[in-house]
């Protein structure tokens, strides 16, 4: 660029594009040719997934013929629309939604270039991503709920528009610190939870999605689209008000998460999210005292439990899953869905297990063996999941033919214990070992076990719920608990 030439956002983007293309050593066609196995696999797995979804839809439809069950399915569709909007708002709040990488923040945002055009494409990309995500989730829900094809399309489009509108609104509020986004996310999250609660209690108002496929649905969709377009104009207009400090943290978070996900290291992504959450909090009211020895570690987890209201609320909210699944008449999957819900929410109570598990320096500071420390950090999560199991027992009873407490309670306890086993498996997973021999793949050399690391936790969850699915009674629960004891013993003693 010659001195004195006008520097614009467009010229900077063009120059960066030229640099990138100049460094490319393969064409897109060559990349796709090399990746033919991946493309082939995606097509085959995609076809299988679609077939499985249609089969599931048929299965759900045949198993759900009573009025309350059908009402619950339709209600769930609307709850899912509210839910995806809540998630879109929460994600937008976490990353910005408008954000730049630290490099862009340091090199481009410090130049005397109008930031508006630089940030516009990022905002639109975020809105598009949200639209695709929200639309896909609601399409899946409506498909499984047995809605008509026209209703599926209309509701998916509506969710897509609402999802993008949520991100655009969050961008509008970003310059003022994102308080509006936080409030909106909390409100829609509360609405979703309340709705799910009403479904679980069979008190949900009677709803219908038939109108969404007709002219009324398209009018609503049109109005929502016009509102979203207006939000685009307002949000783009406010991009120039954004401070660098409001743009870079989200980019840093996304870069860290991308790094973890690129290595298929989901536990590293967990570490990133936990670290960010507590760094944002900055200070706490210190709690001192408590017992000595191993008891000190357990007591600290009790303090954490009191401090982590969000994690406890999430675990409590996940109790809705077994009750909603039971209300939908899907008795055969209650145990699996319950264990999965408890695993995905219970894992946020186990930060001590994860921190000590990945941190040999910290472990050395304690005067106990590795197994003792790990066992101590599992005590409080185990207690919380035991309470969760007992609270879920009435719903899990739908999956147990003999509903006497002596049969139901062991199954419920084994379900919660399966979630704990899966959590331990997931959080104590060793990082991918790049010093071991690598395996050749179309995507380059990868460490052995890297792909399998994605399924860690879920593998143990499946292993421990199979006895409950095959024999949903006390003896099936005993087999599951015995397997669980073996898994836990191996995990806590592994170096």
């Amino acid at each position: 660029m010659t001195a004195g030439a006008e520097v614009t956002a467009r010229s900077l983007r063009r120059q960066m594009r030229e640099w990138r293309r100049g460094r490319a050593d393969t064409t897109l066609y060559e990349q796709l040719s090399d990746a033919y196995i991946w493309v082939f696999s995606i097509v085959v797995i995609g076809a299988m997934a679609i077939s499985a979804l249609i089969q599931t839809r048929v299965g759900i439809a045949t198993g759900c013929t009573a009025g309350p069950c059908e009402d619950a399915r339709t209600s769930l569709v609307w709850a899912s629309v509210a839910g995806v909007v809540a998630v879109a708002l929460a994600a937008a709040q976490a990353v910005g939604p408008v954000m730049v990488t630290p490099a862009t923040g340091a090199w481009l945002l410090t130049t005397p270039v109008d930031r508006g055009p630089l940030l516009r494409s990022r905002l639109l990309l975020a809105a598009l991503t949200s639209a695709i995500g929200c639309g896909a989730v609601v399409a899946l829900t409506t498909l499984l709920a047995g809605s008509s094809p026209a209703a599926i399309v209309a509701l998916a489009l509506l969710a897509a528009v609402l999802g993008s509108a949520a991100v655009l609104a969050a961008a509008m509020w970003q310059a003022s610190g994102g308080r509006g986004t936080r409030r909106a996310a909390t409100a829609t999250g509360a609405v979703t939870t309340a709705w799910m609660l009403l479904i679980a209690l069979d008190r949900a108002p009677r709803t219908s999605d038939d109108w969404s496929a007709g002219i009324t649905g398209w009018i609503v969709l049109g109005v929502a689209a016009v509102a979203a377009a207006a939000l685009v104009v307002v949000a783009v207009g406010r991009l120039t008000m954004l401070l660098r400090a409001q743009l870079v943290p989200g980019g840093s978070l996304l870069a860290s998460l991308s790094g973890a996900l690129a290595g298929l290291d989901l536990t590293l992504a967990y570490d990133v999210l936990v670290a960010r959450r507590w760094r944002n909090r900055a200070t706490v009211r210190p709690v001192r005292g408590g017992p000595g020895g191993v008891g000190a570690l357990i007591w600290r987890d009790v303090v954490r439990l009191r401090r982590s209201r969000g994690a406890v609320t999430a675990l409590a909210a996940s109790l809705l899953v077994p009750y909603v699944v039971a209300r939908l008449g899907l008795d055969g999957v209650i145990v699996l869905a319950s264990a999965l819900a408890a695993f995905l929410t219970g894992v946020w109570l186990c930060s001590a297990l994860r921190t000590t598990g990945r941190n040999p320096g910290l472990m050395r500071s304690f005067p106990m063996t590795l197994a003792t420390i790990r066992t101590a950090t599992l005590v409080v999560p185990a207690g919380a999941l035991a309470v969760w199991s007992l609270a879920a027992a009435p719903a899990i009873a739908h999956a147990v033919p003999d509903t006497r407490p002596g049969e139901v309670v062991p199954v419920a306890i084994a379900t919660g214990a399966a979630a704990l086993g899966a959590t331990a498996r997931w959080l104590l997973a060793p990082a991918p070992d790049y010093s071991q021999p690598l395996v050749s793949s179309p995507a380059g050399a990868i460490p052995t076990g890297l792909i399998g690391s994605v399924f860690r936790g879920f593998d143990v969850l499946l292993l421990l719920t199979v006895p409950l699915l095959v024999a949903p009674r006390a003896d099936g629960a005993l087999v599951s608990l015995a397997l669980n004891a073996g898994v836990m013993a191996f995990l806590v003693h592994r170096r």
Partner: protein, 215 residues
């Protein structure tokens, strides 16, 4: 816990070797640390100082050689060894959800020290982190994190201190405090093994200096 023998030093290392393939980082390293004395490992980057500490602390596995604590093989898995060995190296991280004072309180209580509250308060004042007591580690500066790491070694019982470049990221006052503290630790009968690039700290603390660059 192994029975101390009158003839054996607190820490004895013999013929310690660490090879990474063809790269011989440590070859036949011998060293002794007596109670109440400090040994400093010095030398240029890459001379194997940190590797030696990592092998002794159990963070890395030596290719060959023996490491004895009180005349018995040092096994970092044993609870007794963990009680006696206070190690501050770069691999020490913190709980993201516990404050500065809670970290020290947890360690003091886990080691069942007498009067944990009083000890934690004294150490907190010593390392100058009183005003950061309620802060979470993610918000500390690198120097403050280093002070917290050092404090974690002083709120627990110990017989041997292993420190890897403890002067890192400390300011001038911090360095002076560290030197005084380590001298006091020696006076209390502790053995100290440290790696340092700070000549003044080595001069103030070490009774013996082993230059790995000359081996």
């Amino acid at each position: 816990m192994p029975e101390p023998t009158s003839s054996s030093p607190l820490l004895r290392v013999r013929d310690l070797c660490r090879h990474f393939g063809d790269l011989h980082v440590l070859t036949d390293l011998d060293l002794d640390v007596e109670s109440g004395r400090a040994l400093a490992l010095v030398g240029p980057n890459g001379s194997g100082k940190t590797t030696a500490l990592r092998c002794i602390a159990g963070a890395d596995e030596a290719t060959s050689g023996t490491i004895e604590l009180d005349g018995a093989p040092l096994d970092e898995r044993s609870a007794a060894t963990r009680r006696d060995l206070a190690v501050v190296m770069d691999d020490l991280d913190f709980f993201p959800d516990l404050s500065v004072v809670e970290h020290l309180d947890l360690l003091a209580r886990a080691h069942r020290v007498d009067d944990p509250d009083g000890l934690v308060d004294r150490v907190l004042a010593d390392v100058g982190l009183e005003h950061q007591a309620a802060q979470l580690p993610g918000t500390l500066s690198s120097g403050q994190r280093r002070r917290l790491a050092l404090a974690s070694a002083f709120v627990r019982p110990r017989r041997l201190l292993i420190l890897d470049e403890p002067e890192q990221r400390l300011d001038v006052d911090g360095l002076a405090w560290l030197a005084d503290r380590l001298v006091a630790e020696k006076a209390d009968g502790l053995g100290i093994l440290l790696v340092s690039h700070d000549a003044a700290l080595v001069e103030a603390v070490a009774d013996e200096v082993l230059d790995l660059g000359l081996l």
